[in-house]
């Protein structure tokens, strides 16, 4: 922080803010994050997948390349024309993978967002109110946690039909159990700090206290947990589709691709390896980034 000499009376708020800049917390965090090589690798992988997904239509047209069957080109190996070869219907596997990335990432991210909204409300209420309310809410969450998430997702999809929207809701609800526990424990650890008491002492109202003093200081564990949850949910999308409960063929969903390729796995292992690697790489990348964020966001680990 440099200290240029300035005449204080004539300066406006904006000029002050310009003269004495805040140190950027984002930059501090970025420095810690970048120091972690694996986390950077994860971030690169995610960026590549996101870019491929965003420009999937530019790279390969959905209807003609990823969906339409082309019997002449069946079971081709990798070549310049078909980077990862073709499948049993002569469709380009690379095109299907990048269109699949769209589905996986979209459902993975959106389902976590859905779960996050519910978890924040549930976890913050339980943590802030405490007492009987906390007991009741957390027992319900305990019961939810006892049902394996994939079973719960299957149940929801089975009941409401297997659309993409239902998948997002199903996986989102399945995320609530673990996520709301994280939110609650974070809120609990902040709730009794003296700065929250100080806010009460100056007469601040409850919603303001919860949002600008408590939740703000819970952001770090919530972000980390969310990143890890995306990894899990990306895998769950594929698992559900593999079981035929999620996205149905001919959509180029990764789990779905593995399921259809199973019959030809012996002769053409690439049909399974390619989408398998895609699933593995995305979920690993999110896990790595999550770990990196944990270090970057935790003030205790600084220095």
């Amino acid at each position: 922080m440099s200290t240029p000499s300035v005449d204080k009376k004539t300066m406006s708020r904006r000029e002050y803010m310009k003269t004495y800049r805040k140190t950027s917390r984002l930059k501090e965090m970025w420095d810690v994050f970048v120091a972690n090589r694996l986390a950077v690798l994860g971030l690169i992988i995610i960026t590549i997948f996101v870019l491929l997904a965003l420009f999937a239509n530019v790279i390969a047209d959905y209807d003609t390349v990823a969906i339409a069957s082309n019997p002449v080109d069946r079971f081709q190996g990798p070549s310049w024309k078909h980077l990862l070869g073709t499948d049993e219907m002569g469709r380009d596997i690379f095109a299907r993978i990048i269109h699949g990335a769209r589905i996986s990432l979209r459902i993975g991210v959106l389902s976590v967002l859905v779960g996050l909204v519910f978890s924040c409300i549930i976890g913050a209420t339980a943590g802030y109110l405490g007492g009987v309310a906390d007991d009741i809410i957390m027992r319900v969450i305990d019961i939810m946690a006892c049902i394996p998430r994939i079973v719960m997702a299957i149940a929801i999809v089975a009941a409401f039909g297997s659309s993409e929207f239902n998948m997002i809701m199903a996986l989102g609800i399945a995320t609530i159990a673990s996520m709301s526990r994280v939110v609650r424990s974070a809120v609990l650890s902040v709730r009794d700090t003296e700065y929250v008491e100080a806010a009460k002492a100056v007469g601040q109202n409850t919603p303001k206290i919860v949002f600008s003093h408590i939740l703000v200081n819970c952001v770090a564990p919530i972000i980390v947990q969310s990143t890890l949850a995306i990894a899990t949910n990306v895998m769950s999308v594929s698992s559900l589709s593999f079981l035929g409960m999620g996205i149905a063929a001919p959509a180029p969903e990764w789990g779905c691709m593995i399921a259809t390729a199973r019959g030809n796995m012996r002769q053409y292992p690439f049909l399974v390896i390619a989408p398998g690697m895609a699933i593995f790489l995305t979920s690993m990348a999110f896990n790595l980034v999550g770990d990196g964020l944990r270090d970057a966001l935790d003030p205790k680990l600084k220095r």
Binding site: K8, A201, V216
Partner: protein
């Protein structure tokens, strides 16, 4: 009660329910403070001094008793009225590390309070008030956008004091405001609290375990032991003529940083007993050398043995005439 009394605490009690019984954190404490004065509350950990401070501000709900501040009974106020009244009564915390929101800069911390007063509608005016407050507590203006973790303990404590002063309170409860600081910084803060009191006409309750600090800053001192007020007198009187055996021991246990005028220590045996469901006897009896049968039969009342000197001990009799 005279106009000069700003705060009157009557029979304040705060009990906490625990698994093993009722914890008597504050048990039947009464005192008054005059406008512009400082009352020091001294005691060891677990004596209820912090809970007393919080109960007066109703940051914890008192179990019973009344707290009359400036003619209004705080304990009877609704939540909304209380929020208003709190503007006049503030709190300074012990730990400058945990009492500041780590995600808020100096400016944001003070400005939040200013917004609540509703006094400064114009953003630039409000901002200049922030600068004024920073100057008042000795924070350099270049720290305007600093986060708590970028400042040392002394500066953080200055910010904590600035946050309390932003409300323009009449009365501040200082809960061990200097015990987490180094001596040289501690002296800076004590001097500042003293001069702020003179400038702004503040009334303080100064809670501490450090007798030399309380001696420096207080006009009157109340000594607490296991939730009870056992002695209260003016600072000179208490240090010159302590009457309760515990006060005597406490004063003599204070390590004096000088090699001369040393007094012989009175060592008291044992440790503080449990505050859970205490028996209705003198709470200090088990550690007291002068314990008699009377002490084990009932609780000694707080009596005024000489003008403005209150003691709760069977062994001390009021002065005659």
């Amino acid at each position: 009660m005279s106009d000069n009394v700003i705060l009157e605490v009557n029979n304040l009690k705060k009990y906490f329910k625990t698994r093993s019984g009722m914890l008597h954190a504050v048990d039947d404490v009464s005192f008054t403070i005059e406008r512009g004065k400082t009352l020091g509350i001294v005691g060891e950990s677990g004596c209820g001094k912090t809970t007393t401070g919080r109960s007066i501000l109703r940051l914890v709900e008192p179990t019973s008793g009344t707290v009359i501040f400036d003619g209004t009974d705080i304990t009877k106020l609704s939540k909304r009225e209380l929020r208003k009244k709190r503007q006049e009564m503030q709190l300074i915390f012990q730990d400058p590390f945990s009492s500041l929101n780590p995600k808020r800069t100096v400016c944001q911390t003070i400005e939040e309070v200013l917004k609540l007063t509703g006094e400064y509608k114009n953003s630039d005016e409000r901002f200049h008030r922030v600068l004024e407050i920073m100057e008042m507590v000795g924070l350099d203006e270049r720290l305007i956008n600093a986060y708590p973790h970028e400042m040392d303990g002394g500066r953080r404590q200055r910010l904590g004091i600035g946050r309390a002063l932003a409300m323009k309170p009449k009365f501040i409860v200082c809960d061990e405001p200097v015990s987490a600081l180094d001596v040289s910084i501690q002296a800076q803060i004590l001097n500042m609290l003293r001069s702020l009191q003179n400038e702004l006409g503040l009334t303080y309750i100064f809670i501490t375990h450090d007798l030399s600090v309380v001696n420096y800053i207080s006009d009157d001192i109340a000594v607490m032991y296991l939730g009870r007020l056992i002695e209260k007198a003016s600072t000179e009187e208490l240090f010159r003529n302590p009457l309760h055996p515990y006060t005597k021991a406490l004063l003599s246990a204070l390590p004096v940083p000088s090699l001369h005028n040393r007094q012989k220590r009175i060592l008291i045996k044992g440790e503080i007993s449990s505050p859970i469901d205490p028996k209705p006897v003198c709470r200090f009896a088990a550690r007291c050398d002068h314990c008699t049968e009377a002490c084990l039969k009932g609780e000694p009342p707080l009596v005024e043995v000489s003008p403005n000197h209150f003691v709760s001990c069977f062994m001390v009799q009021p002065e005659q005439g």
